[in-house]
Symmetry: C2
Subunit: 337 residues, 2 copies
């Protein structure tokens, strides 16, 4: 808009640059196969800047029948303490490809979700990422199939939907290996009570690491705990009774609760008990005393990979999952045995 609020037209740009409207259009749209001299291009660009001309993207989309938009439907990612990195990853990757991310946060409400999907379809998005803040299996909402779609941090069994998820099995293996590497051979695992891919996957990885190290599988060492501070706090006595020298906690919040309980009993981490968490939750993990060694959930990478799959840059077969690494984050809560 000009200073008096009037929209600058392509004709005015053409007049200022001393070229035709067609030439302006070709320069602005970087039309391939059209030969325009460098000086002319530069004059048009200068006129665009001088006048503050903005090409009308809506008109362009209308002609092309699709938009630069990619939709991201999130249950509560934007409002969840750490899964917001999914949005950041998706957005930065979308920008790298000249796309704009349209984010709708539905708080897992079915009606809000239907509205969000309808809105995205109306805006002719070129594809939709459908994402969840916890890794879970779910059924696809009606409408999603009307656009190209990729599931992020969730998957839909029995459908052809492609998904990008954290590699829970490898993550569980990594956490356990961090303890084994320091000589621990009696390792408790405070696993979540919630049935989930995280619960099953991390347990499988934990067992794989034990087997690979030639350690016995002892089911008594796997203890159910609520996946938050209170779960870790309440499980402390059980862990001590088991005679474990190290504990793998299902997440960092469980580790934080366990820290509190051990302190109340006069025990020190890592001297009396080594602890490893999972998630690398920003406000907690690095700030516990001692700082918590953990395994990171790759939220940023999940979002970014989702965009790459959607744009065909990374291949995933229909119905298959792309599993993203969960890297180890060593800090100060593991001592040599």
């Amino acid at each position: 808009m000009t200073e008096n609020g009037r929209t600058v037209t392509m004709r005015e740009v053409a007049e200022r640059a001393g070229v035709s409207v067609t030439t302006v259009s070709h320069v602005i749209n970087d039309k391939p196969g059209v030969r325009i001299g460098a000086k002319t291009r530069s004059r048009v660009r200068q006129a665009v800047v001088d006048l503050g001309y903005r090409p009308n993207i809506l008109a362009k989309n209308l002609v092309q029948g699709t938009s630069r938009f990619i939709g991201l439907v999130a249950d509560s990612i934007a409002t969840t303490p750490f899964a917001g990195q999914i949005i950041r990853g998706a957005q930065e990757e979308a920008w790298r490809h000249g796309r704009v991310l349209l984010v709708a946060n539905t708080e897992a409400d079915a009606a809000a979700e239907q509205n969000a999907l309808a809105m995205m379809l109306e805006y002719q998005v070129s594809g939709i990422l459908y994402s969840s803040w916890t890794h879970q299996a779910l059924t696809l909402p009606p409408g999603l199939a009307e656009a190209e779609h990729v599931l992020v941090n969730c998957y839909a069994p029995g459908t052809g939907a492609r998904a990008v998820v954290p590699d829970e099995v490898a993550g569980g293996r990594t956490a356990t290996e961090m303890l084994i590497a320091q000589g621990h051979d009696r390792i408790a695992f405070l696993n979540t009570t919630s049935p989930s891919p995280a619960r099953e996957g991390r347990l499988r990885g934990h067992r794989e690491a034990l087997v690979e190290a030639g350690l016995p599988l002892d089911d008594a060492l796997v203890v159910d705990a609520l996946p938050e501070q209170e779960g870790g706090y309440d499980a402390a006595d059980r862990v001590l009774e088991l005679g474990a020298t190290a504990v793998f906690c299902h997440n960092d919040r469980v580790a934080m609760g366990l820290y509190d309980a051990l302190r109340e009993r006069g025990l020190r981490i890592p001297e009396d008990l080594s602890v490893v968490g999972f998630d690398n939750q920003e406000v907690i993990a690095g700030h516990l005393r001692p700082a918590l060694s953990t395994v990171a959930l790759p939220h940023y990478e999940l979002g970014a990979a989702g965009i790459r799959v959607l744009l065909g840059e990374e291949e995933v077969a229909p119905g298959q999952q792309l599993r993203v690494d969960c890297p180890p984050i060593p800090r100060c809560s593991i001592a040599p045995r």
Copy 2:
């Protein structure tokens, strides 16, 4: 789109409903002043559903010269542990008004910010919320003035920009009053070392509460601390030397660090020292032992109020700030003196 991927046209809807294209258009766009019988309306709507017709919003926007979009430019809100509630508040309020929120997360990068603003202007947003994850004074980026705009959780001194910010002064007063109400009269304040509206405002509110209660203002009781766990941990000895019976911590993370330090010294909260935090940070406040009494930063309400100001539903004069309440969240960390 139909099952074979073809887009359904308004003409097909008209044919199925046995009416003219104009009638379909009037029904879909709820055109005022046009009389169409209830039966006809219902027949058109049924045809829309049967065929899966989606009105082309881009074409509509093009005709109207503006869109249903409202832009939200965020520095790192979407990726910050708790300020994501600003997005949630803005989005739900936008939806209530039939608007769609277009979120761009810039990570405070000037080039990304310029791209985001250009994109939003190209998409003809009807207004832009410009928001920050910490409450701060800033200068307006070029381009923002080209659209209606409201600042959220930040403000731009010397400009005419309207802003919605937390009421830091009232929040500081509330925190201190929670301690005074339990008989405390020697209250330490661990204030942040970062110059900010939060630092100045909460201190002012703290002093106002003391004065109102007839308590002395003792500058020695106001201690500088880094605004995270480490700051609270390191300030513990100073607090104990001062002989305070209660501590107001600049934020919940500072309180968490103070908890750790007090525990190491064998002291109990709240029996030996009462503690109040600020922020009500989800993963921390309710899960400390004992659960932390605190004052909430109203992130959701900041986002929602920003939309209302933008849409003219709430009046704020040019250059003025709308201050939003920070409510008390009583839990278990304050004991009677």
